[in-house]
């Protein structure tokens, strides 16, 4: 009897212990839960006294847990510049100060618990920025490429550069096809993405806006993801300098690793998409006709 009671007591104790352990374990796991993806958010732009521009980037995640999750993970940021020579109208090319195949490392800091980084540009520059890291069994990569309009003849830009680095070869990348449209990205224009990774056969690309899933884009037979962002009335009302961030996301699983790769599109409102020539030409013609009739009726005869 005693033996049976002891057995039940032991089992009860083990049960309580197991429950408590499970609760603690689950809590611990929740604390280090990896986000589904990360993306780069363009923050404040500061015009420095010498005319150069400092752009702040925030590293955002699918959840609000990124600061906790980064405990034990290694987030790194790399960037390079493409500059256009002031004396020519040639397209943007590698800045001479930058190695052709290399990147400079940017320093990631914490500001109010958020991961962010600052990059300074002294002239008219296209920046290509990658942020990547691992979290548990997940590899996260975020990419952005856009223009910074520095207006200085010199700056301490070089002082903030780190050593020349190479991007890890196995990182899957989501790249925007080179196009003149990339200079001023607009709604209503088609953008083509190429996904290069270990599992280059990823079937779909998700489009996200403010964490909301907007659309899924299927891969074309040529291996390209094509996406045409729709016009946004809110953006249209906001002015030509306003922009919104749309995130393209590809998720794959290869060799036991989960990969989540994002590309942040900075979309302005359409520059030409709302122009209507026919009403304008009709208005122009009607105005001319009205004024000709008006002048013909009212004018006084004068000299030739």
């Amino acid at each position: 009897m005693i033996c049976r009671n002891l057995t039940w007591a032991a089992l009860f104790g083990i049960g309580i212990f197991a429950s408590a352990y499970g609760l603690v374990f689950r809590t611990a796991v929740a604390g280090t839960e990896c986000p589904a993806y990360i993306w780069i958010d363009c923050g404040e732009r500061i015009r420095e006294k010498n005319g150069s521009l400092t752009q702040r980037y925030h590293i955002r995640s699918s959840g609000d847990t990124l600061p906790d999750c980064t405990h034990g993970s290694d987030f790194q940021a790399f960037y390079r510049f493409f500059r256009r020579s002031s004396s020519s109208k040639k397209p943007y090319r590698f800045d001479r100060a930058f190695p052709k195949a290399g990147y400079f490392q940017a320093v990631i800091t914490r500001d109010n618990g958020e991961l962010c980084l600052d990059i300074n540009s002294r002239t008219d520059t296209r920046i290509e920025l990658y942020v990547f890291g691992t979290c548990g069994r997940k590899k996260l990569l975020a990419h952005i490429s856009h223009y910074l309009f520095g207006k200085a003849s010199h700056s301490d830009e070089t002082r903030t550069r780190g050593p020349v680095m190479q991007l890890p070869a196995d990182l899957p990348r989501l790249c925007l096809h080179p196009s003149c449209r990339n200079y001023y990205m607009q709604t209503g224009q088609t953008y083509r993405f190429n996904y290069s990774g270990k599992d280059a056969t990823a079937k779909t690309m998700s489009i996200l806006e403010n964490h909301k899933h907007l659309a899924d884009v299927a891969r074309s037979p040529s291996g390209i993801f094509e996406y045409t962002p729709p016009h946004d009335p809110q953006l249209d009302r906001a002015g030509p300098h306003a922009f919104k961030e749309t995130v393209a996301l590809v998720e794959t699983t290869t060799s036991g690793w989960d990969y989540a790769t994002t590309y942040t599109l900075l979309l302005n409102r359409s520059y030409l998409g709302h122009l209507r020539s026919l009403p304008g030409l009709i208005l122009f013609g009607v105005t001319i006709l009205t004024f000709v009739v008006g002048v013909g009726c009212k004018r006084r005869p004068g000299r030739k």
Partner: protein, 317 residues
């Protein structure tokens, strides 16, 4: 006919240089005191009014940007503009402005079609003088409101985008009709494009029936006039030699009465004057009207010149 021919040649050379010059590597910068429209792709230089209103070099620049190298650049543009205005003053209007050339073409066409020029009453003519000051205030105040009072950014370049007829009309010379389209992006852009197209249509008719019609409203004319006193360009009248024939007033494309009516002051460069020299060419008095650059006399009226011109016209007709 020498001055007229010289002016025509200069006007046309400058028209092609400023409208198509960019395609051949000619760039006169962003500080030109004439309507060389930057909306013309491949233009050879840009009207300063755009830079003045803009957010890179003008009044729309934020206070923090003014303290940077950009602020110095904007001052450099202003400095170049002032220098150019002081150097040539109203010659920019009568001899260089490409939009002025277009107006002269329309006048030539009207004359070829034997259509009489429309005439304003003097009261109307005097009232119209204030319009260019109102437009100048408009193009100065709105960018300041955007930069410092939170005005909507779609109001930027208010003069260029809503008033200036050069914006929809000048790009037509490079085959671009896009600026005659209506922009349905939002209410402000729609309002601006409706205004722009309507004013362009009205101005086109006005420029056809009235010589140099747009110059009556041109805010650049006012800006240039502000610097007349420190400019070495002088338009003078020998009031004692004037016989009061009124030829100067008859020949003036801007219908200026001041030259004819001036009885005391020798400086007759008025606000609306374009320095086209039509009056000086038509004046039969020896050295009654003269154009000077510092102490050098560029051109002066003479009885012989008028006689030769008359004889030449008789031969041609």
């Amino acid at each position: 006919m020498m001055v007229t021919k010289l002016r025509l040649i200069t006007q046309h050379v400058m028209f092609f240089a400023l409208t198509y010059g960019g395609r051949f590597g000619i760039r006169f910068g962003h500080s030109l005191p004439c309507f060389s429209c930057p909306y013309v792709s491949g233009c050879g230089g840009s009207c300063y009014l755009m830079a003045l209103q803009g957010n890179w070099w003008g009044l729309q620049m934020s206070t923090t940007d003014m303290m940077t190298a950009m602020g110095l650049e904007s001052l450099a543009h202003l400095g170049i503009f002032i220098l150019l205005v002081i150097l040539l003053n109203k010659f920019w209007c009568g001899w260089i402005c490409p939009f002025g050339v277009v107006q002269d073409w329309l006048t030539y066409l009207r004359r070829r079609l034997a259509i009489h020029e429309a005439q304003f009453r003097w009261l109307t003519r005097d009232r119209l003088k204030t319009v260019k000051w109102i437009l100048l205030a408009y193009l100065l105040i709105v960018p300041l409101l955007i930069a410092h009072a939170g005005g909507h950014y779609d109001l930027h370049l208010p003069f260029c985008r809503s008033i200036c007829p050069a914006k929809p009309l000048m790009p037509l010379f490079v085959g671009n009709v896009r600026h005659l389209a209506l922009d349905f992006t939002n209410a402000v852009t729609l309002l601006f494009t409706i205004l722009s197209v309507t004013i362009a249509g009205g101005m086109l008719v006005g420029m056809f029936f009235k010589e140099r019609f747009f110059c009556l409203f041109c805010p650049m004319l006012v800006l240039i006039h502000i610097f007349r006193k420190i400019s070495p360009v002088r338009f003078e009248k020998n009031v004692d030699g004037c016989i009061g024939c009124g030829n100067c007033q008859c020949m003036c494309p801007m219908d200026i009465r001041a030259v004819h009516e001036q009885k005391t002051d020798k400086n007759v460069l008025s606000e609306d004057c374009l320095l086209c020299m039509n009056c000086t060419e038509a004046c039969p008095g020896d050295e009654v009207l003269s154009i000077r650059f510092f102490k050098w006399r560029l051109f002066a009226s003479s009885r012989n010149y008028v006689a030769r011109r008359f004889a030449q016209r008789q031969r041609l007709s």
